[in-house]
Symmetry: C2
Subunit: 197 residues, 2 copies
DNA sequence: GTCTATATCGTGATAGAC
DNA sequence: GTCTATCACGATATAGAC
């Protein structure tokens, strides 16, 4: 996003390597126990070397999540056959990137809970973006008649996000929880209440 | 729960004081930045003194949350007039105990994400208890006909929990989010799809 | 049973050498 | 652009005072 280094190939590659290894370390130890030193050691640098690429531990975590969001956009936009399917596919995909789920859950809770957290704004904007994307999904489904119109759309959008977030914690505690099936159940509750049932 | 000390009045009072002050410090700094030293200083002890009452920082956090759950039970059981109202009242009450919401969000995410976390089992059991309680609520509502029967009950129970948990993070980022109104919207989606609509 | 003093070790961050 | 050295601060373990 905001490269702190030049655009030399070597620096960019190192930066990408740190992002990948950082995620790896988080996945193994959790966000709280993931240390800059450990990441540095694996990438062949000292802690100070890592901080040269990322201002702080916090910024590193934030950028790992931002990179994930960029990659996920492709999955989200594949809304086949229903408008919600892109979102459900994303939740399914999450089961294959445990470390990211873990980082997201821990780090978003930390950032939200502290008024001066350096990543607080990042998450506020992320939620706003997600709300806009899901509002479009809900409105598309209302337009094609696959869901009803007798509910509060912004509330349902927030519920779709909250359900996914909350289910991630339940899933981490018990991998038998099927996150996308659960959100799909929520989606089906939105079915039109007129005829056709 | 498992008092590490005797039953002398002085020890019990100090223990209770540490729990209260611990929550206070968490509320100000977030769980991650809440230190045993800070809690100890405010309560007039050294860090080792605090550890005498609570084996570790983790155990202290867990006991703060367990104490909250005990107190909350009373609110949850007041299901007036609908079976879900006790749960909704709880979410409303949460807006008045920001520190607890913050601790719960951060600490549950941390515990869930790490397989060897000392509080992992605590949260697994807490979720199981909550599932049992909410299953009873859903079944009671189905019995009195206020909600439908054409959905997966365990899935909806998990959704009710996940929605509440996920909304807490959204609420911390933006206090205008009305958590109980959102979950009430989810509940209303469960209304029977036959006649009476 | 209650608590302090002390020591060890790990942490993120920084300054300045190379 | 990367290092070494160092800082201030954290959790925790032990020994023992009272």
């Amino acid at each position: 996003m905001t490269p702190r280094t030049g655009t030399y190939a070597k620096g960019l590659a190192k930066r990408a390597e740190i992002l990948a290894v950082g995620l790896e370390v988080v996945a193994e130890n959790g966000c709280r126990r993931a240390t800059v030193r450990e990441i540095a050691a694996r990438v062949g640098l000292t802690a100070a070397g890592v901080v040269h690429y990322f201002e702080s531990r916090e910024e590193l975590f934030q950028e790992i999540l931002a990179a994930r969001d960029d990659r996920d956009r492709e999955i989200f936009e594949d809304k086949q056959p229903r408008p919600i399917d892109g979102y459900l596919r994303l939740l399914e995909h999450n089961t294959r990137v445990r470390g990211l789920v873990q980082l997201y859950a821990e780090y978003s809770a930390e950032a939200a809970g502290w008024a001066e957290h350096p990543s607080r704004v990042f998450f506020q904007e992320r939620f706003d973006q997600l709300r806009a994307d899901l509002t479009a999904v809900v409105q598309a489904a209302q337009a094609d008649g696959s869901i009803g119109r007798d509910f509060d759309v912004p509330a349902v959008v927030n519920l779709l996000i909250a359900a996914a977030d909350g289910l991630q914690v339940q899933w981490m505690l018990d991998h038998r929880i099927d996150m996308s099936a659960h959100v799909d159940q929520l989606w089906r509750l939105l079915a039109p209440r007129t005829a056709s049932e």
